[in-house]
């Protein structure tokens, strides 16, 4: 099998160049104030066709796999890109694909692939849990469809999404529904967030008209599938972010002089950086390998997905925290970007429940 390494390298290079121009630190900081830059979202779709990269050709995409998407997400994570990409292309699009509802895929995915639709997936409620048993939002039959009532929290880009996919309890069990942002009865409020580079919202549903996606009742299975892909996608972002923290630290250690020598000559600093490198290499391998296994529909994928989630969460947190230490005094200032990575690292680690959830998930996947 041709592993297409050169194509992946070219893709990485193109995305890296684009992000160096469009998502430098100044742009990230501007997004903290004003939200994501719609012009960049537009260019990502038109020039690089990134939203459609890993979507099937039948739905307006380019038909590549998670292996290619993983590369893009590594670079986005490294640049701390503030974008509805993750919520739209990973969460919402993967939920639609997992539903196997062809009509819904035909209706919504081409808009996502073209960068015309910003979408999100609302699962967790006040507990933050993705466990279908913990979902209280209800879906009730109405004369012409369904009505959704309840409250969702931690909804990525929930304030700006035009398409909102919601997991709610229907009479036959948890199921996926679609509604649009601004639908009657739907109220979105931005949440104050530890990581302002990824906006989260609380959505209140009061008899909001919703459209059932899929046959209904298999929401639990769907969530588990979406979560696996989302964890690998997040792991890619985390590995990329961790790699950037390491690069910033190494660069600083090479150029910052103290006691008459570059601080990188001290073994205390060298060993910190080497420890970071070890965690980063491990996280990258775990994320890339999980993506590859997903594309091969390998039986090992579910275990590999959780492994990537755990290793990348640990690596990013470790690298972001150690990076501040290597930078010393400047490292904990507002003006230095280290805290932006620290915030993203912590928020990513806990986005889907964190260590309390993912360790037991790994053991469950291994039958332990």
């Amino acid at each position: 099998m041709n592993d297409g390494k050169e194509e992946l390298d070219d893709l990485r290079e193109a995305v890296r160049e684009f992000l160096a121009a469009k998502s430098p630190e100044t742009a990230v900081r501007a997004a903290l104030e004003n939200g994501h830059d719609p012009a960049v979202w537009d260019q990502m779709a038109r020039q690089l066709q990134l939203p459609g990269l890993a979507l099937p050709g039948d739905y307006g995409g380019d038909g590549f796999g998670l292996t290619e998407l993983e590369v893009v997400l590594e670079e986005m994570g490294a640049a701390l890109l503030c974008s509805p990409f993750f919520g739209t292309v990973v969460l919402a699009a993967q939920a639609l694909l997992a539903s196997a509802d062809e009509a819904a895929c035909k209706r919504y995915l081409p808009g996502i692939a073209a960068g015309e639709t910003i979408a999100t997936l609302a699962v967790a409620e006040s507990s933050g849990s993705w466990d279908p048993a913990r979902i209280a939002t209800r879906a009730e039959r109405t004369a012409d469809g369904w009505a959704l009532t309840g409250k969702k929290s931690f909804v990525i880009d929930g304030s700006i999404a035009g398409l909102v996919l919601v997991v709610a309890q229907a009479p036959a069990g948890p199921a996926l529904f679609a509604t649009r942002g601004g639908a009657p009865g739907l109220r979105a409020e931005p949440m104050a967030t530890l990581d302002p580079t990824r906006p989260l919202a609380a959505l209140t549903f009061d008899q909001v008209p919703g459209e059932l996606i899929g046959a209904g009742g298999e929401g639990g299975q769907l969530l588990s599938q979406v979560l696996d892909v989302a964890c690998v996608a997040l792991a890619a972002e985390q590995a990329g972010g961790a790699r950037r923290c390491l690069e910033m630290s190494a660069e600083y250690a090479r150029t910052r002089f103290q006691f008459g020598r570059a601080i990188g000559t001290f073994q205390a600093i060298k060993h910190k950086c080497a420890d970071m490198l070890a965690r980063v290499e491990l996280a990258e391998a775990a994320a890339r390998e999980a993506a590859r296994l997903a594309d091969e529909a390998a039986a090992e994928f579910p275990v590999a997905a959780v492994t990537a989630h755990i290793c990348s969460s640990q690596a990013y947190m470790f690298a972001a925290a150690e990076s501040i230490q290597v930078h010393g005094g400047i490292g904990f200032t507002w003006e230095h970007p280290a805290h932006l990575y620290f915030r993203r690292a912590k928020a990513s680690e806990l986005l889907f429940g964190g260590p309390a959830v993912y360790h037991e998930r790994l053991l469950a996947r291994l039958g332990i």
């Binding site: 000559t265 490198l277 491990l282 492994t307 755990i310 290793c311």
Partner: protein, 238 residues
């Protein structure tokens, strides 16, 4: 293979020559070193006036450091390689879970967390190795980042040994006769060496920092002065 100092006036890396020595030759005195495991994998070898024919020289005179490096690289590759020996093969999720089941600790929350942390790292290290093997087959020369595999391997096995000893409790300090319990003591006693063999952890980290991350070398490490002028253990600095 013996590395011998052949030019004390050259810098330390440049005055070494490698020879093949017949271990039965007169003047070769072999004294086994006993390790903390009780086993003897190493020896002290004393060479006193041993005659070595020139065709037993490996490489050029004073070019022995390259021979040594190649040997070391291979040693590192073995330590961090895909197969970690019989002990590493026993560290499967199934075996570890069975051990917890047998000792009634499968529901212990703290041990479950430790197990998951350990397994995630073992699985990821497996992925790292698989990707390296695939890259090598595709013709990519392995770089110094391969040292990461060695570091992780030693650390993972060390953590595994301590995890297993916590699961076993007193059964690892004295043999109850129960199969598959006291035998783990062997892993426990073997792991400290793993962090030293083939380059100590500290040296490996220096290599990663300097070769991969391009951090500057520590000043005062002298690789240019003649060997005879270098300060050495047991020899006063003049």
């Amino acid at each position: 293979m013996a590395l011998c100092r052949t030019d004390v006036n050259a810098p330390k890396h440049k005055g070494i020559t490698a020879f093949l020595v017949d271990m039965t030759a007169p003047g070769v005195d072999i004294r086994p070193l006993r390790q903390m495991t009780g086993g003897s994998d190493f020896n002290e070898v004393f060479l006193t006036g041993v005659r070595v024919p020139d065709d037993h020289r490996l490489g050029e005179v004073n070019a022995g450091w390259r021979v040594a490096l190649t040997t070391l690289m291979n040693e590192r590759a073995t330590v961090g390689g895909e197969r970690g020996g019989t002990v590493a093969e026993a560290l499967t999720p199934e075996r570890l879970a069975a051990l917890m089941r047998a000792t009634g600790t499968l529901d212990d929350g703290a041990l479950r967390r430790d197990l998951s942390v350990l397994l995630a790292d073992l699985l990821a290290a497996g992925h790292l190795n698989r990707r390296a093997v695939r890259a090598m087959r595709a013709g990519v020369t392995p770089g110094p980042e391969r040292s990461v595999a060695k570091l992780m391997h030693a650390q993972n096995l060390t953590r595994a040994a301590h995890f297993v000893s916590e699961v076993l409790g007193p059964r690892i300090i004295a043999d109850t006769g129960e199969w598959g319990t006291y035998a783990w003591a062997e892993l426990l006693l073997a792991t400290p060496a793993l962090r030293i063999l083939g380059g100590t952890e500290e040296v490996m980290k220096n290599i990663l920092a300097e070769r991969v991350l391009k951090l500057p070398k520590e000043p005062g490490i002298d690789s240019t002065s003649p060997f005879r002028e270098l300060p050495r253990s047991g020899k006063a600095v003049s």
